[in-house]
Symmetry: D3
Subunit: 143 residues, 6 copies
Amino acid sequence: MNAFFGRRYALSASHRLHCEALTTQQNREAYGKCNNPHGHGHNYIIEVLVGGPVARDTGMVVNLVDLDEAVRTHVLERFDHTNLNLDPLFAVKVPTTENLCREVFRLLEQAMPSGSELEYVRVEETENNFFQYFGEGPREAAR
Amino acid sequence: MNAFFGRRYALSASHRLHCEALTTQQNREAYGKCNNPHGHGHNYIIEVLVGGPVARDTGMVVNLVDLDEAVRTHVLERFDHTNLNLDPLFAVKVPTTENLCREVFRLLEQAMPSGSELEYVRVEETENNFFQYFGEGPREAAR
Amino acid sequence: MNAFFGRRYALSASHRLHCEALTTQQNREAYGKCNNPHGHGHNYIIEVLVGGPVARDTGMVVNLVDLDEAVRTHVLERFDHTNLNLDPLFAVKVPTTENLCREVFRLLEQAMPSGSELEYVRVEETENNFFQYFGEGPREAAR
Amino acid sequence: MNAFFGRRYALSASHRLHCEALTTQQNREAYGKCNNPHGHGHNYIIEVLVGGPVARDTGMVVNLVDLDEAVRTHVLERFDHTNLNLDPLFAVKVPTTENLCREVFRLLEQAMPSGSELEYVRVEETENNFFQYFGEGPREAAR
Amino acid sequence: MNAFFGRRYALSASHRLHCEALTTQQNREAYGKCNNPHGHGHNYIIEVLVGGPVARDTGMVVNLVDLDEAVRTHVLERFDHTNLNLDPLFAVKVPTTENLCREVFRLLEQAMPSGSELEYVRVEETENNFFQYFGEGPREAAR
Amino acid sequence: MNAFFGRRYALSASHRLHCEALTTQQNREAYGKCNNPHGHGHNYIIEVLVGGPVARDTGMVVNLVDLDEAVRTHVLERFDHTNLNLDPLFAVKVPTTENLCREVFRLLEQAMPSGSELEYVRVEETENNFFQYFGEGPREAAR
């Protein structure tokens, strides 16, 4: 695939990074301040990259209204203005940017408007940190 | 005063906007999604503007090391990676951007390096929302 | 007034800068490329600064829902995704950033949620150009 | 190829998204507000990524003056401060970000300074929307 | 004055902060890493705010071409891609952001296109540091 | 590899682009203003992308503390607030963004926390220029 449409969404959420399987000391070493009790929060940016042919008539890869609807119902309504630790997806998994990003990918992968394909999800936790996930399937050799 | 040095600091925190004196319905009307139970979070930017004469020898309004130290000990260590609702300052007051900004102003006002004066504190909650506070004292007519 | 809440809104519009009272040559000198026939366009940012007392119960200067509603009905629905030259406000006046900014100020001034006051409107035409307008009334000496 | 030089250019233009082959209703569904009559506009960012070996003497992938000249003559002079719908390239094709991006790619592909190759063109229509195009040729497996 | 046009310019320069009147130890305390021998550099942003009446015909506070020309000849050609310490203005004065900002103000103050007035110059040294200078004259009470 | 963690670091440095093997005229043609004697400077952004499996317990690709330590000791302490031309790495090579980026890649490649791999280093010299380097090794077909 060689043509991609990207769109960025904002969501605000709180979380605490803490892994039950680790000791207090290990948690502190792994997560630093992000392990503070009672949590803290971020303005996350969710960047979604969608690939597919450009439709000959509309000149678009994906209908924006459909894409927004998919992201709104599957991601924003679920995570925006929430405490991520209380979501069932993070009952066991720690809500790191990595895990949040992969869950968002899985939630969206099946919901893509027909004819388009989810290339990656990128989650920016702050201006200086991000995680980018391309899914598990075999990727084509071409880029 | 006509010369100002500004510096921006980042902090991540969670909060929930909920006022005990208001009904459930009033809380929802006042705060919208920010009233969601369990809270959410933000990457806050704290912008501090400091006025004062430019020292003839160093060419500076304020020593950066001193300013950073004042902000670190009075603001960042207190609020960064915390749940704002659990801070004693917000035991009664709701941790809105407005109240956070005014508390940061009060905490910093007395801590300014000598010879300089706190002109304003500006708190950006997201890229699109901010609150700016110039303190309570009488302001000079000259801007 | 010493406490201000600010909020930023985006709108996309096209315009052409051309003044009937000027010659072709004068138009070119005044507006450069912005005088090109058929127009061009911008992603404008409208920054609104609102002053007022912080309400003791809600901890807010202005209810965000009310402010958004005022801006939406008076400004965004009118100008977003339009050709500014076709708006009656710009039948005679040229839709420069200056004139757009002043018209937005006038449209919003009367629509402010009660208890708050419009301090300024700032219109950013590009990342490098903006115009800021504080209204015509006498301003208080205090900043 | 494993080394890329990127450069970003700004251009302001207006457009209207409307496809003659579609009904009024279909146009509205495909383009939403972007189908408004009389058009609207954007500050576009054109990001160009160029690959090639780093020259041993100059330490550069591409001479910046040459690259700027290619982009200026082939893209900026053609599209900056214009109405995209009036360009012959968009006499039939709708000037969506997708189509603009692919046309920019084609215009630049042949104009690359010798020794360098156009990897992609990315067009950002707003801060939240972009389209990225890698060309039609077979891509190497590497990367 | 209540209406202002702002414009931002970029310049890249190097400097070293070192005051001959101070000891090695005092220089280190005042400037930290900025006192490192051999200098370092920044991408400076120069923001210029210009006040004045909006011309009834053109709808502009200041002709952009004239303003750009004033900034180009008086500021950019002098400081862009230079070592600030070698400028005669900084033969004695240390090229801090404060001093650079005040010199830019003085250079531009006399060069303003007629009918407009320089309100402030703001120099951003990094994304997190800036200095803003309003000149020495008495300011009107009305902001 | 299909999962990547990215992190951005800032450093300020000065440099002059000048190649001994070229004539005065050729240097001017290759580097323009960047060839000015006495140098100039930039706020560089170093973006580091690290790939690897997401650890099942911590939910992280790489421990942030370890990554920061690697970048601090190998890159920031070496280049931040320095004159790049004086670094032994640039005794012969010209400190272009391209060469700086490749040297940073080489310095970091061996220093990656175990289990993770350096995917690319991207150096942004200004908001509009960047260079991105993926290393010399054979790349997997995937992605």
